[in-house]
Structures are given as C-alpha cells and as structure tokens.
C-alpha cells in the first residue's frame, strides 16, 4: 500500500474495486466501516459481485468481469471532460498527461457503458464522486490483478489516482491489499526472479556485484530467472529438472491443476518443505518437515509495508526443524557455509545490503512500528509513499488500451467463473481446514449462483452441480444467492474436494505473469 490502513479514516471517498474486503481483509473492512459511519466518508464500490461492502456503499457499480481498463478509462474521460482533474498537481508532479488525454477521447460514456454494462448515469456519478473528494483513496486486490490485463488494470488505477492528485497524500493513495501474511515481505526479500532484496534489479551490474561480494561468490546473476508459471512449463520441456518448494502448494493454488501435476511429474527431483503433507508434497521425492509461525522467530511485512515480529511460542513437533536450520544445513552440504545462524543475525545481514530495510532491527521492532523505506537507524520509517515527489521523480501517466479477457462465455461454455476466498479459510486450506473450529463455520465448498440462472438450470439451493471448462470438471454444492450476477459463478479455491483450479485457464498477464483466475468460461449442469 502507498498509505497506512488507518489513513482510511481521513479519506473523503474510498473507492474499492476487486476486493471483497469484508471476507479477505476483515480488519481493513473495520476501518472502512468506521470511515463511513463515523467520519462521513463515502464508499464507492466497483465490483461484479454483490459483496457485503455494498451494504455500506453510497454507490455501487457492477461492471462485467474483465472490463476494468474500460471503466477506469471511462471515469477519467468524464473527469477530464468536466475539468475535475487537479491541474496543478498534474503540471508539477506528473508527465504524459496529454497522451493520456488524447487516448481517452474514444472512451465515451456510451462506448464504456456498452462494454462494461455500467449505466452512463452511474459512470457520471462515480466519476464526480471520486474526483470531487480530496483526499480519496483506492483499495484493490486480486479482483484487479488476476487478469491477463492485471498490470494494465493497476496502471489504470494509478492514472486515475494521479489525475485527481491523490498519490502522496494522507488519506489517499493506490492501495493493493495483500492476501497472504508475508507476500509483501517475500517480494521485498528478493523472492522474485528479477530482483534481489529491496527490488535491486538483477539486470543491474552494480547490484549483481554488490550481492556477489556480500555473499562471497563469483557469478553476477545478470539474467532474470523464471517466474512460477514459466518454471512449470520449463519443467514440462525438461529445461527445469529439479525444484525446491518451500511452504507453497502450487498443485491447489495454481491454474490448471492437471497441467501442474503433469509438469511436476516431468521433474527428475522435487523437494518440498512444509508443515503438512500437502497435495504438492505428496508428489515430492524428499519432504522436509518445517516449522509454523508459532515455532520460530522472525519478521513479516504486512500490506502497509510495516515490519513486525513473529516470535517462537512453542517447540516444533517431533523431529521438525526450523526452516533456517534446514537451509543452512543444505547449503553446508553443498559446500557453502551461511554466516548468519539465527533470525536476528539474518535480519542484520538483510539490513546491510538492502537500503529500504537499512534501519530495521529486532531492537527497534520491540517498541516501534516501522514501515519501509527505513534507510538507517534514526529513520522513522515511511508510512506514506511518494510524498512531495514520486519515487521515480515524475509520476507517469500511461495510455492504456482495453483488451477483453482471454476467454469469453460462448454457447458451449455460457458462464463466467471467478475464484477467490471465503472469510473462514485461507488459501489452499492447509492450515484453516485442520482442527474443527473453522470447519464448523465453513465446512465445504459452495458455488455461488444467481437465482435467475438457478431457475433456468433448474438448480435448487444445496444441489450438487458439475462445473466444466475446456480444461476439466468439478462437482460442488450450489449456493443460490444474489452475490454473483446472472451469468456468473463464484467458487472458492480452499477445498481440495472441489479443486476449482482444474477449471481455470493458464492465460497470464504478459508482464506480471498473473493467471487470469477471475475470468474463465464454464458450463454448469445439475450433477446426476
């Protein structure tokens, strides 16, 4: 996020899109409710599903899935036509406005309405609401990014925010809500094929040399590696022969499950390090039992870029070892001695070679909430990004074309399938589906189907239905309600009994390589 969560209490308008905040980020939803009920903020929800936030919204727009660039461009078209953009801010702090403005000409309300299904009146109302407020913040999540145009969608939201002077101000911002507890940290720490820690690019020779020196190795790593989706395709082609998977369950979480299983089967060697024998671990040649968050020391970085401590509360079960010990031992056996042995020592090493984490230490974290960038010991951290000027100097507008989703419903597969989470479960259910507690609340997968469609298909609430795409078929219980719009079905991905990723397509965003989980074409039938 560019801004801290409590900033929402200072927003006049909060635009949420592609985030079912109430289910996925309940604490952020608390802040949204407080902003609306106590601070008089207006909530603008733009989402294909009738999510719970809609109850608190001043205005709700329901676009067709996969048309985000189009409605965002449409809002900007209206804002510019009505002169509601912040001219000084654009002049001073941004570049590329004229190209954007010219590009937006064609996104007239008539055209945008015909593509997105949003009425022209609503487009005007939303544009005026967002542009009329200062500050206004934007929140988004996977509903924006899990598309082949995910990167375009995000850039479009940034365009919109900059157009109205909302970046770099308290109560504003463009704020992605991170779904997993340390997604932010995994990226910050260089768990990406193209960057080292703190987003230092591997293509940059200085960075390469710096890390080679710090780590005492010869190579300079100049070539970016493969992304997760590419790794599996490379495995299929025998270009990747071995994989090491730590704490992930791609068999359930990745698109097109059968394809992933096939790719993994092509590997010569797979090691999985996890706390349970997950669907992925079952396919491994070697399994390392790992520790969970209650059994180790460390830090995580939340969606606000705040770093906080994880502390060891209990000893791990049986012969389980801490992940740090496992990695260090394996390194040593391959002829490389890692110097840092404890979590605290590792953080010291990170701080030394990562400018944005330079001032982060276990001592400070005892009493302080620190958001990166925090370059040195005396730096208070940076809760709001881009204040005064953008990290790159001038904020750049991008003229973005509208590209329809990879798959559209047709006569054979007439429904749109979207996937996501429910509140009581997390990701592939490895953790939340243990024990009884959360299963009492949410025991099984439910496919949300609109009553209009249910009637056409003669499906009643609780019936088993089969959902089929070009890639596979699953059987799941129907839950008839109005959260999904007609023509659309939503299925959570937590449940291995109804592995919805058998159905999803492997079409990915060309830049961010995110799969298009939010739009697949499917057929629904009553299961016999």
């Amino acid at each position: 996020m560019t801004n801290p969560i409590p900033d929402l209490l200072k927003s006049e308008v909060i635009l949420t899109t592609g985030t079912n905040t109430t289910e996925n980020h309940p604490i952020i939803a608390n802040y949204i409710k407080e902003a609306v009920t106590k601070r008089g903020a207006k909530l603008l929800v733009i989402d294909p599903r009738r999510i719970a936030l809609v109850d608190s919204a001043a205005l709700w727009l329901r676009p067709r899935p996969g048309t985000d660039v189009c409605w965002i461009n449409g809002l900007m078209h209206i804002i510019i036509k009505e002169g509601l953009h912040t001219k000084d801010y654009i002049e001073e702090r941004t570049e590329g406005f004229d190209e954007l403005s010219a590009h937006l000409e064609e996104f007239t309300p008539e055209y945008v309405s015909s593509i997105t299904g949003i009425s022209q009146d609503d487009l005007f109302a939303a544009a005026r609401m967002y542009a009329g407020a200062s500050p206004a913040s934007i929140l988004y999540a996977m509903g924006i990014t899990q598309h082949i145009t995910g990167t375009d969608n995000v850039k479009s939201l940034a365009n919109l925010a900059m157009l109205c002077g909302n970046v770099g101000v308290t109560g504003g911002g463009v704020n992605p809500l991170r779904g997993q507890n340390n997604v932010q940290g995994a990226c910050d720490m260089g768990g990406l094929p193209n960057v080292f820690t703190g987003y230092q690019p591997v293509l940059n020779d200085d960075a390469g040399n710096k890390f080679a020196t710090a780590w005492g190795v010869d190579n300079i790593f100049a070539k970016p590696g493969l992304t997760v989706t590419e790794m599996f395709s490379a495995a299929e082609k025998k270009q990747v022969r071995a994989m090491y998977v730590m704490g992930e369950n791609p068999v359930l979480s990745d698109p097109d499950k059968s394809h992933i299983e096939h790719c993994i089967a092509s590997l010569d060697f797979l090691v999985v390090q996890d706390i349970f024998l997950t669907e992925t671990a079952r396919l491994a040649d070697v399994v390392f039992p790992a520790t969970c968050f209650a059994e180790k020391d460390g830090t995580v970085t939340n969606t606000e870029r705040q770093v906080s401590r994880v502390k060891k509360a209990v000893d791990p079960p049986g012969d389980t070892r801490e992940d740090i010990w496992i990695l260090n031992s394996l390194s040593a056996r391959m002829g490389y001695e890692m110097s840092a042995r404890t979590a605290k020592q590792i953080m010291e090493e990170i701080a030394k070679i990562t400018p944005s984490y330079g001032g982060i230490s276990y001592e400070r974290l005892e009493n302080e909430r620190l958001a990166w960038p925090c370059p040195d010991e005396d730096h208070p951290g940076t809760p709001v990004l881009h204040v005064g000027k953008f990290a790159r100097g001038k904020g750049r507008f991008f003229a973005i074309k509208f590209i329809p989703p990879f798959e559209s419903p047709d006569s054979e597969y007439p429904f749109l399938l979207s996937t996501g989470r429910v509140m009581a479960h997390y990701h592939t259910g490895t953790m939340t589906r243990r024990g009884t507690g959360l299963n009492r609340i949410s025991p099984e997968s439910l496919a949300e189907i609109n009553p209009v469609d249910a009637e056409k298909l003669s499906i009643s609430d609780g019936d088993m239905v089969s959902i089929t795409s070009r890639r596979g078929s699953i059987t799941v219980k129907a839950w008839i309600n109005k959260r999904s719009q007609p023509g659309m079905v939503f299925v959570p991905f937590h449940f291995h009994e109804a592995p919805v990723n058998l159905l999803t397509s492997t079409a990915i965003d060309p830049v961010a390589k995110i799969p298009e989980f939010k739009v697949s074409a499917v057929r629904i039938e009553k299961a016999s």
Binding site: I5, P26, I27, Q146, Q180, N181, N182, V183, A186, G191, F211, G216, K223, M231, V240, A242, Y244, V245, M246, G247, E248, P250, D254, F269, V271, A284, V286, P289, A290, C292, F293, A294, V300, N302, T303, R309, V310, A313, P317, G318, D319, T320, D323, I324, I326, S329, R333, M334, Y336, M338, M347, I350, R369, M423, A424, T430, T432, G435, G437, I514
Partner: protein
C-alpha cells in the same frame, strides 16, 4: 482546550474529552465495567460515577464531557457507597462460579469487586434461570455470568457494523439475543470486549488459567493485515489467542481466522520427520539421509544441466528471514535466479 481539576489535579484536555478519558490520561483510575477504549460510551454499569462542583447527585463520567473550570471528585465516601450499592445489584444474580470460569484472573468484575472490597454480596439464584439464546459454533454464552453491560452488542455494531446481537432487557431477566444469526461472522469481537466470562471461546480442548499461561506476542499468520496477537501457551501447546487493545493496526480486533484458526499448530497430522520416496512410497528418514540425498541430487543436476535447470519457490507464508535465506540459497549456492513465490495466486 478546556481546563478543569480532577481530584484537585489541574488538567487541560481537548474539547469534547469525557471526564473518564481525562482522568485516565491523568493517571486517575475510575472504576468502570461497561466503558471500553474501542467503544463509544455506553453508560450502563454506573460504576464510573463522579461528583461535579460538590454537587452530591453523581453523574457518569464516561459520557460527560469536561467543561471549563469544572471541579471533579472521583473518590469520595458517598461515591464509594453508591458504587457498592450499584455493584451489589449486579452481583445479586451473578453466579460467582469463578473457579470454573475462563476469565477468572483477568475479569473486570472480579477486579472491581476486589477493589471496592465487597465481601457481603449474597447470591440469589434466579427463579427462572436464563437459558442461553445466543451461541455460535465457536463462542459460548454463559447467561448467568452476563452483567448486561452491552459492550458486546456495541462492539458488534460499532466496530463490525454488523449488529448480529442485541440485549433483550426484561428487568432482571435480560440477556443477549440473536438478531440475525446469518449475519454473525464468529469474529469474536464481542468476546474480546466482554468484561466477564459471559462469552468464552468454545474451541480449545485444553484450558489454561491466565496465571498459568505464557503469552507470546506475535503476528497473525493469515492475511496481509498483519494483526498483532498473543498466543496463549501452556505445556508447549497453543491453547488460545488473545489480543491487546493497544497493539497493532487491529487494536485488539481479529477476524475468525486470527482468533480461532490456531488448531493447525498442534494438529496430529503435522509432518514430524523427513520423508524420502522409494518406489512410489514415502518412508521416514533421518535428517542426514534427506539432506545428503537432496544436496547430492541438486549438485549432480547442476553439474549435468547447469544451475538454471533448478528452480525454487519461496513462500508468502514464511518469514522475511526465511525468504531471504531461500533466495540466497538459490542464487549463491545453486547459482540461478529461478526463484519466485505464489504471491500472484
């Protein structure tokens, strides 16, 4: 800013500050059972009464703002006597089942009874015992312990904006009732603010006592909000989760996952030993075997097909330190940039 005195101490606070808040700021502790930092004033328990300008008719300090020049007394003999009367009303039907109550040891009611030194509050069982109308599969309501302070109802409304429960007040016989069972998300907000043991978690098979448990500050392992919480630990087992209203972005709130999603930690299906697959079946192995085999396989594949023939997935569920070490392992030891994680999923 407005200036006033509380117990002869000069204070100056922003306009609109309540007497209770001003006193707390000045380090003066007025007893209360219904006031809670996260909630708007409720004014149901009548414990926080104070005298203003010598006026003997006391007012509730939780919902009276400080006014310029006000002289407030919080601890007179008359106030004490009135508090004891009010408290005895509450205690009349409050089952003093502290020995079996989860909250004993950190119960606001116990604390106030102790503080006011009430030793003669005869317990009269109700003629018609209350039958619990509210419960969820994770939260248990003990109606006989409920003091009808309304914190729970206020929290469900004011913090969550849900309004799943309400108080049915029937004189002495009031209790919490469900307004809309479907709306309840079992978030436990009501349980977190309850001053007594009237709402308890209905999950852990193991019971601790606050003074027997060890509490460890940590960060929730689920979503990216980064809520701060404490794991309750007894006998090397996590037996529950609690929060502190002053810590973290969540200010004591959690969602159903953070509050009740801890069972996996001690689950009997956890992996406890390395496994090696032979002829399609796993067998248990020692660390030496498993690490040697892995090191040898990685080394030989690297030798034959180059470092880029090996790839690694690190994890958004692991710590920063582990992620750092993992990518360092892939880059420095294997020698490839083929490292990614499933953040996009």
């Amino acid at each position: 800013m407005v200036s006033a005195t509380i117990d002869n101490r000069e204070i100056s606070v922003p306009e609109g500050t309540t007497i209770l808040e001003a006193a707390q700021k000045a380090g003066i502790d007025i007893p209360t059972l219904c006031h809670h930092k996260r909630l708007p004033p409720i004014g149901s328990c009548n414990m926080c009464i104070v005298e203003i300008n010598g006026n003997t008719k006391p007012v509730n300090s939780c919902n009276s703002p400080v006014e310029e020049g006000m002289k407030v007394a919080t601890d007179t003999k008359a106030l004490h006597e009135q508090r004891v009367v009010n408290l005895k009303k509450i205690l009349k039907h409050h089952a003093l089942d502290c020995p079996i109550c989860d909250k004993a040891g950190e119960c606001d009611l116990q604390d106030v009874v102790y503080r006011l030194g009430v030793t003669d509050a005869p317990f009269e069982p109700r003629e018609n015992p209350r039958i619990a109308e509210y419960s969820t599969s994770l939260i248990r309501y003990w109606p006989e312990r409920c003091i009808l302070c309304q914190r729970c109802v206020t929290a469900c409304n004011a913090i969550k904006g849900i309004g799943a429960i309400d108080i049915k007040s029937d004189g002495d016989d009031g209790q919490i009732v469900v307004v809309d069972a479907d709306k309840c998300k079992s978030c436990g907000e009501c349980l977190f603010v309850c001053p007594t043991g009237a709402l308890t978690e209905n999950l852990s098979r193991y019971k601790g006592r606050p003074w027997l448990e060890n509490r460890v500050e940590t960060t929730c392992t689920y979503c990216g909000c980064g809520c701060q919480l404490q794991l309750k630990v007894m006998d090397n087992r996590v037996i529950g989760v609690t929060t502190d209203v002053d810590r973290g972005v969540n200010q004591g709130s959690l969602c159903v996952k953070g509050r009740f999603g801890y069972e996996f930690i001690g689950d009997e299906n956890r992996l406890t030993t390395p496994l090696i697959k032979e002829n399609g079946e796993f067998r248990e192995a020692s660390w030496d075997e498993a690490l040697d085999l892995t090191a040898q396989k990685f080394s030989s594949i690297k030798e034959e097909s180059g470092p880029d023939s090996i790839a690694g997935l690190t994890s958004a569920k692991c710590t920063n330190e582990e992620n750092y070490l993992f990518q360092k392992f892939m880059r420095a030891v294997i020698g490839t940039n083929n490292v990614d994680h499933c953040a996009r999923l």
